[in-house]
C-alpha cells in the first residue's frame, strides 16, 4: 500500500466495508427477491432502466448457435468465384490496407486461396450457400444472412468476449445475462439463461471460458447456467441415495420454518430470498431431469435432427434440448460448438464441423416453424470472426488453411422479427473488407436488443460509477434494413 493507491481510492474504506458487509446484504437480498417476483427494475442502486421492455418485442427468446473458432465465410456463405483467377497471387496491399495479422501469418506471403468448397443457389430467394451445408442451404428461404459483419479482435478469446459481451476484456455481462437481468423469466422452474456445450467426438483444442456466459458486473444470479453433457446436467442436482423425495420435502419445510423464524428476528430480506432459492432448487430437481430426458420425443424428432442427435451432449442433441428449453419459456439459450479454427487442413476439418452442425441447425429452424414458435424465437448462427482469403500453409494444397480475419464474416439469423430469404451487406472481391452496409458486432447487439423490445441506449447498469450498456460507448445502430 502506498500513497499512489491512497490517491485513487481509500483502501481503509474498502477494508472496513468488506468486514462490515455494509448494506450490501440488504440491497442484494431485495434485488434477489424482486427477481424472483419476475421483475428486475425498481432497484435504484443498480441503475436499471425502468419499463423494460421499452416497446412490444418481436422475439420473446433467443437461441444463439455459437460456432466457436471462426467459421470460414469464404467456404460457407460468401461466394467469391473471382478468386479462382487470382489464386496464388499476392493479396494487394490496397485490400489489406495495413490490417494487423496474427502472429501465425505475420511476415509470411499473403497468397490468395480460392474457396475449397463448391457453391450453389438454394430456394426461391436463391441464397448462395456452400454445398458443404446442404441442410442450411435447403432452409435458406427462412434465413436472414448478414455478410458484412465486422469485429475489432483477431484472437479467439478477446473476439468471442467482444462478440458476446460487447468488450474484448473480461468483466462485462454476456448478452444472455442482460436479458435475464432485464426481462426475467417466463418459467419459474428453470434459470433464465442456459448454456449447452457440444461434447466433441475427439478432444477439443479450444477452451470455452465460463466468462463467455458470465454475468460480469451484474449480480451473478443472472449468469448463464451451464447444463453439463453428463449424467447430471446440473451439478449436485440429485439428492443422495437413500433419501426419498418426501423426506427432502420435509427437510426443506423444516428449513423454511426455521429460516422464517430467523427472518422475523433479524429483519434481513436476504433470508426470504434464500428461502425462495431453496424452493427453486427443489423445483429444478424435478424440472431439469424432465427437460433433459428426451425419451418422450418421437422417432421423427431424431430423424429430423440427424443420427448424431442420439448421442448425448452432441450439437444435434443440444439442438433438441434448445427447442425443449424454448418450449418451456427459457429466455436465452446458447449453444457452443468449438473447433471451427481451421488454420490447416481446412478441407477436411471444416467439412467435419459442417457435418456436426448442418442438419441439426436446419432441423431446429424447421422444428420451431412447424410448432409455430419461429415467429417469436430469434435464432442466431455465427462465430467470433471470419477467415482470411489468403492461404495459410500451402494455398494450393488440401492441407492449406486460413488465418483469423476480423474485417468481415458472415452470420445468419432466423425468426423473431427478422426478414426471411434475405441477405444483407457485402464484402469486396476478396471477401476481405465489408464494403456494403458493414454491421459491427455492437450493431448486431443493438439489433438483437431491439428485437427483444429493448432500446440499447436506455438499458444500462451502474457499476464503478459508470452506466454500462451492452453496446458500449461507441455509436451503435439498430439494423432496421433486416427487420421484417
Amino acid at each position: 500500500m502506498n500513497d499512489r493507491t491512497m490517491g485513487v481510492s481509500d483502501p481503509l474504506d474498502v477494508t472496513r466495508r468488506y468486514f462490515l458487509g455494509r448494506g450490501a446484504a440488504v440491497g442484494v437480498g431485495a434485488m434477489a427477491l424482486s427477481s424472483l417476483l419476475g421483475k428486475h427494475s425498481g432497484y435504484p442502486e443498480a441503475g436499471a432502466s425502468d419499463n423494460v421492455p421499452h416497446f412490444a418485442p418481436k422475439a420473446k427468446r433467443v437461441i444463439f448457435l455459437t460456432q466457436s473458432g471462426g467459421p470460414s465465410q469464404l467456404e460457407l456463405y460468401d461466394h467469391k468465384p473471382g478468386l479462382v483467377d487470382l489464386a496464388g497471387q499476392k493479396l494487394p496491399d490496397s485490400v489489406r490496407n495495413g490490417q494487423r495479422l496474427s502472429d501465425m501469418t505475420k511476415g509470411k506471403p499473403q497468397l490468395v486461396m480460392p474457396a475449397h468448397s463448391v457453391f450453389r443457389q438454394w430456394g426461391k430467394a436463391g441464397a448462395t450457400v456452400s454445398e458443404w451445408l446442404p441442410h442450411i442451404g435447403g432452409i435458406s428461404d427462412e434465413l436472414c444472412f448478414i455478410k458484412s459483419m465486422v469485429t475489432d479482435q483477431i484472437n479467439h478469446a478477446p473476439a468471442m468476449t467482444k462478440f458476446l459481451t460487447g468488450h474484448h476484456l473480461t468483466g462485462r455481462p454476456s448478452m444472455g445475462c442482460w436479458f435475464s437481468y432485464g426481462l426475467g423469466s417466463e418459467n419459474q422452474d428453470l434459470p433464465d439463461y442456459l448454456v449447452l456445450l457440444s461434447k466433441m467426438k475427439r478432444g477439443s483444442d479450444q477452451p470455452l471460458y465460463d466468462h463467455y456466459w458470465g454475468s460480469g458486473f451484474l449480480p451473478s444470479e443472472y449468469q448463464g447456467v451451464k447444463l453439463r453433457s453428463a449424467k447430471d446436467p446440473v451439478l449436485y442436482l440429485n439428492d443422495p441415495q437413500g433419501l426419498p423425495r418426501n423426506l427432502r420435502r420435509g427437510m426443506l419445510d423444516g428449513l423454511k420454518d426455521l429460516n422464517a423464524m430467523r427472518q422475523q428476528k433479524t429483519g434481513d430480506p436476504e433470508i426470504e430470498a434464500r428461502i425462495q432459492q431453496y424452493e427453486m432448487a427443489y423445483r429444478m430437481q424435478a424440472s431439469v431431469p424432465e427437460l433433459t430426458d428426451v425419451s418422450d420425443e418421437p422417432e421423427s424428432t431424431f430423424e429430423l435432427y440427424g443420427p448424431d442427435s442420439r448421442r448425448a451432449g452432441s450439437y444435434a442433441a443440444n439442438c433438441i434440448l434448445a427447442r425443449r428449453l424454448a418450449e418451456r419459456g427459457v429466455r436465452f439459450i446458447q449453444l457452443f460448438h468449438p473447433d471451427w479454427d481451421h488454420h490447416s487442413r481446412l478441407r477436411s476439418w471444416c467439412t467435419a464441423r459442417c457435418r456436426d452442425t448442418d442438419q441439426a441447425s436446419a432441423a431446429l429452424i424447421k422444428d420451431l416453424k412447424q410448432r409455430g414458435m419461429l415467429d417469436d424465437t430469434l435464432v442466431i448462427w455465427g462465430g467470433e470472426f471470419g477467415r482470411s482469403p489468403a492461404g495459410q500453409g500451402k494455398w494450393d494444397s488440401p492441407e492449406g488453411g486460413r488465418d483469423h480475419h476480423p474485417r468481415c464474416f458472415t452470420i445468419w439469423m432466423a425468426g423473431g422479427g427478422v426478414k426471411s430469404g434475405f441477405s444483407f451487406g457485402a464484402t469486396d472481391d476478396y471477401s476481405y473488407n465489408a464494403v456494403v452496409d458493414p454491421v459491427h458486432v455492437r450493431d448486431l447487439h443493438a439489433t438483437v436488443l431491439h428485437l427483444m423490445g429493448i432500446e440499447h441506449e436506455k438499458f444500462t447498469f451502474r457499476s464503478q460509477g459508470l452506466d454500462f450498456r451492452l453496446t458500449g460507448v461507441e455509436p451503435a445502430r439498430v439494423v432496421h434494413e433486416i427487420l421484417a
Binding site: 440488504v26 449436485y236 437413500g242 418426501n246 423426506l247 427437510m251 430467523r262 430470498a273 431453496y278
Partner: protein, 256 residues
Amino acid sequence: MDNHWDLKHLVKRILTSRTYQQDSAVSAELLGRDPDNRLLARGARFRLPSWMIRDASLAASGLLNRTVGGPPIFAYQPPGVWQDQFMGRFTYQSTLGPGQYRRTIYTFWRRSSAPTFLFDSAMRRTCEVVPRRTNTPLHALTLLNDVAALEAARKLAERAGEGFGKSPHEKGGTDVVLKTMFQLVLNRPPAQRELSVMKREQRKALAYYRENHEAARTFVSVGQLPTVPVGIEADLAANMLIASLILNLDESITHE
C-alpha cells in the same frame, strides 16, 4: 498509518472493536432510518463466502483437520467435472484420509476449473476487491448434496449422539441430540419452537428409516466415512437429515 501500515493490527483493531461485535438484529425503525447501516448502529449481517461455509461445517462436525502447511489436497468433486475441462488429459482423484478434511485454503485449484463447491469464488482472471455474495438455487443444491456437506452432517449427528449407544431415541435422547447439534453449529440453544420444528421432521424421517433399513444404510454411507454398525443406521439417518437441515440454515452460513 500510525502503526506503519500494519494490516494485521488494523484487522485486529476492527475485529475486537465494540462496533464490529454488535448484534446484527435490526428493528423496523432502525432499518428505516439507516437501511445501509452507514452509522454502524448494528452489526453487519452477511453470508459467509463458500470456502468459509465448508470450513465452518467441517469444524462444527469435528471433521476439520487443522494441520498447517504442505501440498494441496483434492477435495470431493462430482464425477465428470474435470473430464469435461481437460478431456482426459488430467485425472482428478479426491484425497483419501484426513487430508480431505483440511481447510479449504489447501484445496487444489486450477483457474480453468475452480472447485465446484466454491460457488462464489473469484474467477481469478481479473482483480476483484470484494468477493461476490450471491444467492442462487445452485448454492442450495451444493450445500444440500455435496459429499463434504453430507459427511459433515453425518459426523455432526454421530458427535451429538455419542454416549447414547445404538439408539438415542429409545433412551429419551432425542432432545439432547437435536439441541447438541444445534448448539455445535450455531453456538446457541434452540428456542422451544425451533426445537419442535426439528422434532417434527426428525420423527417423520425416523418413522421412514425404521421401516427402510436399507435406505438408511445407503443414506449414511457417504464419502469415505467408516461403515456404521448394524442397528444404528435408522436413528443415525434421521439425525443426519436434521444435521443437514441445521447446516443449511441461513443462520449457519451467515455472519451475524
